[in-house]
């Protein structure tokens, strides 16, 4: 079998298994898995920039939050329908990522990390500053009546799970297509050797900007979906922790692989979920995993698997 068929088979199998999971798992875990799928979409978006383009951002919470608040605020104040609110959420994340990309890409390396961190921090503080509308840390609830999408009540477990899965599947297909497209190959060329990519004649700056926008929009879609499916938007989703989490998911799962983000999100979500039963200092686990990964397995789980199965996309 050639590689394209193998990887589409793999992706198809992942989606089928995930669909079956809803009927196999007890309700608590299928609820968790719905959250994981949305967060995995966030991680896949992060992976476009970090894994494929080689740009390490510390500010993706800003993109997640711009989708989340784009959707949440338009439902809250404009009584927008879920579809319209979703579109507004996506547009706001496109605009935010384009502006941030345009500015931050004037820097490279460590400066890029700090600049994205600072912009995201400014975004978080802005959410707090307009606490009158956003309700700051406390956040606001999106009522069940406002979450009915073409007659489907997204607050119910079954539609919610399959809505999350549909979104995840779309993201996965998009990424699988992207990495084999001309644009995706150019991004990888930039990651491997930026100077050489420029010398060959690629417009490096334009492709990097494109990567930030694709990455930011996927993250924004995840943020909007999170608010719509779970009916809540709060400032904690804009805080620095939500910039670190996708990095953690991608590093753990395997940067620059299509299914790595999902693997990383599942592992990390359950590590934190289980440890938070024992202690309120559950972020300790996040810290330890970060350190251990940088020390011993910078290529992540899927990266380790790829050593055995070289065809892994």
């Amino acid at each position: 079998m050639n590689q394209a068929i193998r990887s589409s088979l793999l992706h198809g199998a992942v989606i089928v298994i995930l669909a079956a999971m809803f009927f196999v798992l007890p309700e608590y875990h299928s609820g968790n898995l719905a959250r994981i799928l949305v967060l995995a979409l966030f991680a896949m978006g992060y992976n476009v920039l970090f894994g494929y383009t080689g740009l390490l951002s510390l500010g993706h919470a800003l993109f997640f939050a711009s989708g989340m608040y784009g959707l949440g605020l338009s439902i809250l104040f404009l009584q927008a329908s879920p579809l319209l609110a979703l579109v507004i959420g996506l547009i706001s994340s496109v605009i935010v990522s384009a502006v941030i990309g345009f500015l931050a890409l004037r820097t490279t390396g460590v400066a890029f990390m700090i600049v994205t961190l600072m912009f995201a921090q400014a975004g978080y503080l802005t959410v707090l500053f307009f606490g009158k509308y956003t309700r700051g840390d406390e956040g606001f609830v999106i009522q069940r009546a406002q979450r009915i999408f073409f007659g489907i009540d997204l607050s119910q477990p079954l539609p919610r799970y399959f809505a999350a899965l549909a979104l995840f599947a779309m993201g996965l297909c998009l990424i699988a297509w992207l990495v084999h497209s001309r644009v995706g190959k150019t991004l990888i060329a930039i990651r491997e050797n930026e100077e050489r990519a420029r010398m060959i004649g690629y417009d490096v700056q334009f492709h990097k900007l494109l990567a930030v926008i694709i990455s930011g929009t996927l993250s924004g879609a995840a943020g909007a979906a999170y608010a719509l499916l779970f009916g809540y938007a709060g400032a904690s989703f804009a805080a620095v922790q939500y910039s670190i989490l996708p990095l953690l998911y991608v590093l753990l799962g395997g940067a620059g692989t299509t299914i790595g983000p999902l693997i990383g999100t599942v592992f990390m979500f359950y590590l934190i979920d289980i440890s938070s039963e024992y202690t309120n200092a559950y972020l300790l686990i996040a810290g330890l995993v970060l350190i251990l990964l940088t020390l011993f397995a910078p290529q992540g789980i899927a990266g380790l698997l790829r050593k055995k199965l070289s065809w892994l996309p």
Partner: protein
């Protein structure tokens, strides 16, 4: 209070912020300057200093000055030792590769902060100042009888607050002398200029790195011990000093110690004064955006020189 005295008291508070900030930021700055390491866990070393100061003073009975004196010496040493350990176990192992180092220090941040949460707990705890006498400050005015000094109500400070400013200046002077006038300082500067060449001349670069990382953390801890009688010890207190130190180091020019001190005074003073007139959140938004734009448009800092 009238505007003039109000501004005066704000600048005095700003001077204290600036003094502590200068110590913390210089710690971050020498680590970046000599090792090229962006230490995201720097704020946690600050927090550890404050928490250790609380722990040490609560162990030692008697006059508060006794416990505080011990804390002032012991806390920075312990924090420095912890930092040397982190350097040995983590940073050294990944060869100080810039991006991996940032990720690893984010990990260290969580580990230190959450371990403190598990042991020290979520409460904020006070430390008693070694001496704390209130002194009223004079203000001048031009009345009918010409120039006169008055003592407006509320215009006062404490001896301890003044002592913090003096202590910070002394410590920075000593550091300056060590860096410019001693052999250790010479070795550090040689490593900063060209670590490979320094290694070739028989300097144990790894030892220098360990020492610098420990020294950087100890400076943050020292700043924290000085400020903890005015603030309180809390496991999340490392966030603000980290952000402010970043701002100061970036605006002062990455790795330039003198620039860092100048920027610390500037930012510390304006932070005190700005927060009188703006809400603290707005002040922070402006500060973070300032850092981002300085990095984008003037990456060598407002006072930095372009490196070759």
């Amino acid at each position: 209070m009238e505007f003039g005295p109000h501004l005066f008291i704000a600048s005095l508070e700003g001077a204290i912020t600036a003094a502590v900030l200068a110590l913390t930021a210089v710690g971050l700055s020498i680590v970046f300057g000599i090792m090229r390491v962006v230490n995201v866990a720097h704020g946690e070393f600050f927090m550890l200093g404050a928490v250790l100061a609380w722990w040490i003073t609560s162990l030692i009975a008697g006059h508060p000055a006794l416990g505080f004196g011990v804390a002032l010496v012991a806390a920075p040493i312990v924090v420095g030792a912890i930092a040397v350990l982190c350097n040995r176990l983590v940073l050294n192992k990944i060869n100080y590769e810039p991006e991996r180092t940032i990720v690893a220090t984010i990990g260290l941040l969580y580990v230190i902060q959450q371990t403190t949460l598990m042991t020290f707990g979520p409460e904020a705890r006070p430390v008693e100042a070694p001496f704390n006498k209130r002194i009223a400050l004079p203000w001048f005015e031009f009345g009918e009888s010409g120039f006169a000094l008055t003592w407006p109500w509320g215009l006062s400070t404490t001896t301890y607050k003044l002592a913090v400013i003096v202590a910070a200046i002394l410590i920075l002077l000593i550091l300056w002398l060590v860096l410019t006038r001693t052999k250790i300082g010479l070795i550090m500067r040689a490593t900063q200029l060209d670590s490979e060449m320094a290694q070739a001349h028989g300097i144990a670069v790894n030892k220098v790195y360990a020492m610098v990382f420990g020294l950087g953390a100890a400076l943050a801890a020292l700043g924290a011990v000085l400020v903890v009688p005015i603030q309180q010890a809390h496991y999340l207190m490392g966030g603000d000093p980290l952000l402010l130190s970043f701002i100061v180091v970036i605006i002062g020019g990455l790795g330039s110690v003198l620039g860092t001190v100048v920027a610390a005074v500037l930012i510390g003073m304006s932070d005190g004064i700005i927060s009188v007139f703006f809400t603290p959140t707005l002040a922070k938004i402006l500060a973070t955006l300032l850092v981002a734009f300085v990095l984008i448009f003037k990456p060598d800092g407002l006072f930095g020189r372009r490196r070759e």
